[in-house]
């Protein structure tokens, strides 16, 4: 799974990769849900702004901290392991249908963009 983030102020983008299976882990599902919140978006934007100013490369650790994972691990899983396996297989098996469409894209009015491709 490829995640591309574009910063309009820098007029540049950064890309990093994440195993698709992470989405279906307990931590992945809780972080995904958390990322849909307005506050989380602002937090990530702030975090990214800092990273952009200080680093040349971006990796998963910049976005998902140990605390994030530990916090998610304490919560109940939203689906069972079997259900997660079914969903993962469905996504993997139908990847060919996407024809270049992103799984997720976000664009703020400030021009900040996130795009996730399978």
């Amino acid at each position: 799974m490829k995640i591309r983030i574009y910063d309009p102020q820098k007029d540049s983008d950064k890309t990093f990769w994440l195993p698709t299976g992470f989405l279906f882990s307990k931590a992945g599902m809780h972080l995904l849900a958390k990322s849909a919140s307005a506050q989380a978006r602002k937090d990530y934007e702030k975090k990214l702004e800092t990273i952009w100013r200080t680093r040349d490369e971006l990796d998963v650790d910049d976005l998902v901290s140990l605390e994030d994972v530990q916090q998610a691990e304490r919560l109940d899983p939203p689906i069972t392991e079997e259900q997660a396996r079914e969903m993962f297989a469905a996504l993997k098996d139908s990847k060919y249908l996407m024809h270049g469409l992103p799984l997720f894209s976000l664009e703020s009015t400030k021009g900040f963009r996130v795009r996730i491709d399978l």
């Binding site: 919140s37 939203p78 969903m87 469905a90 996504l91 139908s94 997720f104 664009e107």
Partner: protein, 173 residues
Amino acid sequence: MTDMKSLSLGQRIQALRKQQGLTQEALSEMMDVSPQAVSKWENAQSCPDIMALPRLANCLGVSIDLLLTGADAAATTDVPARKPEELIVRMAVEEPGEVRICINLPFVFFRYAVLYNMLSFTFNADGDEISPATVQALHDLDYKAIVQMIESGVTGKLVDVNDASIKLAIWTE
């Protein structure tokens, strides 16, 4: 009602886009092109790529014939309907002046996400949502009914919410 036959292709795209209540930005996002590209189509400075015509016609809610000529073909050929398993469910949520989010899920995956309540889970995390209006709109949707509609062969635009605080559309491709 605009006479589509009397319009140029660009004028027709613009008229159909407005009929659908779409801005140039919204259409560009649905088409995965820049807003400038849509503007150029409408101002006859360029034409959409031929490979993009099926998607453009789908976004504008018309047939390719109507898009290109302003009239549906008198005689049409039956095209075998695609199986639900071959469809992508596309969701676009826009909070005007804030953010626009698009989610594209293979139908098979979407069906599981509905069955296991993953959409409700994702759109309602810890009570700290995208925005109350958006969450309300997303919660008001009957996702199981959407799955049933797709399974029974309904395609194209399935949901279209358009008010001052939120624009939400769900369609299949």
